[in-house]
């Protein structure tokens, strides 16, 4: 059997996941195999470095701004800021924004390039794969901290989207980030299976 949830470009043709059918244990194996195939492809394309090194590269490649005085923000900048900040303390305002972004993503399956602070889209562009990668890593961080399955659920959907676009991605930083996003997801799923099955 084949894992089919990343077969088509999910940014163009969003997957709604309604009433997905039960295929038994072989479904889990096919999912793991599909994700592993993506990891193998990435390993062929880039030289791996550690996750902290990857984040440093990401920070350097962007002019990170919080843009507190503006009524809108560039999604990528904000996601990089949240992902790379060394202060791990939970921040109420930041949490609310992540929750709203997660809700928006779950309903629309899109992440727009700019929003206002009420999270109303300020741009028509939702095709920047980096935003999906960054949000996947933020969901991963949130799941690690609070074990809330809501974040693992979105993380799986975000990684489906990313995997569906993998052949179009060549930026080494993006590929490194994807490598870690998928590895984190596989690790969480492995732990959950160990606990539940």
């Amino acid at each position: 059997m084949k894992y089919t949830y990343s077969d088509v470009d999910l940014i163009k043709f969003p997957q709604r996941y309604q009433l997905s059918s039960f295929e038994g244990r072989k479904f889990i194996s096919s999912y793991k195999e599909a994700r592993q195939n993506v990891l193998n492809e990435i390993k062929k394309k880039i030289h791996l470095c550690t996750f902290p090194e990857t984040l440093q590269t990401l920070q350097k490649s962007l002019e990170v701004k919080t843009q507190k005085n503006h009524d809108r923000f560039v999604t990528e900048n904000l996601l990089v800021f949240i992902l790379t900040k060394s202060d791990l303390k939970e921040n109420e305002k930041e949490n609310r924004l992540i929750e709203k972004l997660l809700k928006n993503f779950e309903i629309t399956k899109k992440i727009y390039s700019e929003y206002n602070y009420e999270l109303k889209k300020q741009s028509a562009n939702y095709e920047a794969v980096r935003n999906y990668i960054l949000f996947s890593l933020i969901c991963s961080k949130k799941f690690l901290v609070n074990n809330d399955l809501k974040f693992l659920n979105s993380l799986l959907k975000l990684n489906d989207i990313i995997c569906s676009k993998i052949n179009t991605i060549s930026d080494p930083t993006d590929l490194l980030l994807i490598y870690y996003a998928i590895n984190f997801e596989l690790e969480y799923i492995k732990e959950l299976i160990k606990k539940k099955l």
Binding site: F27, I28, K103
Partner: protein, 230 residues
């Protein structure tokens, strides 16, 4: 006090109406939104399991209504916010209507004079939103149902009754476990609570968790965890 139900041509309505009849519960009015969709054919195994849980998944709602000589008003659409339905509800003045379908009720129907009861497969406020029983099984090895009076938001209405269930030992969570836990809660609600429902519990809408449609990987782990322990 009058009590009715709004049925749709789906599994949940099959379970609700069959269990209402089995328990001799009298309804003052039955509304049936019926778009005459083609009935799904079910395997022998799923039919057998559904009967074990107190309803026949293969029996169309229409057949149950006709075989039991029940009076009902049929609508040719399946849309709870359809103005035709709203106008009809206004004209019949029924106090409570059980709504078997999903989705959010808009202002017009909520202002029709009736109160709408929904049976949500999650213990609120911890489990609001979609496919909650899968998450609850993963988190707590059980699932629950909340009966509440619907308002304009998602799963935030005043609570009438809540009931918890052990996770099932079969694989048909969408098809059987979900309608089973909802219909069982409905029957228990009829048996334990008296009309009018005066002891409603107000929800604190600022607390709790909202879940979204479960990803197939998590869904599989949830179902497999039922089979593993079973």
């Amino acid at each position: 006090m009058s009590f009715g139900i709004i049925l749709t041509p789906d599994i949940r309505s099959k379970a609700y109406i069959q269990k209402i009849l089995q328990n001799n519960i009298k309804l003052d009015i039955i509304l049936f939104m019926n778009d005459r969709r083609i009935e799904k054919i079910y395997s022998d195994d799923i039919v057998k399991v559904s009967k074990r849980y107190g309803f026949d998944i293969a029996k169309p709602v229409m057949n149950t209504l006709l075989e039991n000589n029940l009076k009902f008003k049929e609508f040719s659409f399946v849309d709870i916010n359809n103005p035709v339905l709203t106008e009809y509800i206004k004209s019949i003045s029924v106090d409570y209507l059980i709504f078997t379908g999903g989705g959010i009720l808009k202002h017009d129907i909520l202002s029709s004079g009736s109160k709408f009861i929904h049976l949500h497969p999650g213990i609120v406020p911890s489990y609001r939103g979609s496919t909650c029983f899968y998450y609850s099984i993963l988190n707590q090895n059980n699932a629950g149902v909340t009966a509440y009076i619907m308002d304009e938001k998602l799963d935030t209405g005043d609570i009438i009754y809540q009931k918890k269930f052990q996770k099932p030992t079969h694989r048909y969570l969408d098809e059987i476990f979900d309608p089973y836990i909802r219909s069982e809660t409905l029957i228990e609600l009829f048996k334990t609570k008296k009309l009018p429902f005066n002891d409603l519990i107000k929800q604190n809408t600022s607390v709790g968790e909202t879940y979204y449609i479960i990803h197939p990987v998590l869904k599989h782990i949830s179902i497999l965890s039922c089979l593993t322990d079973g």
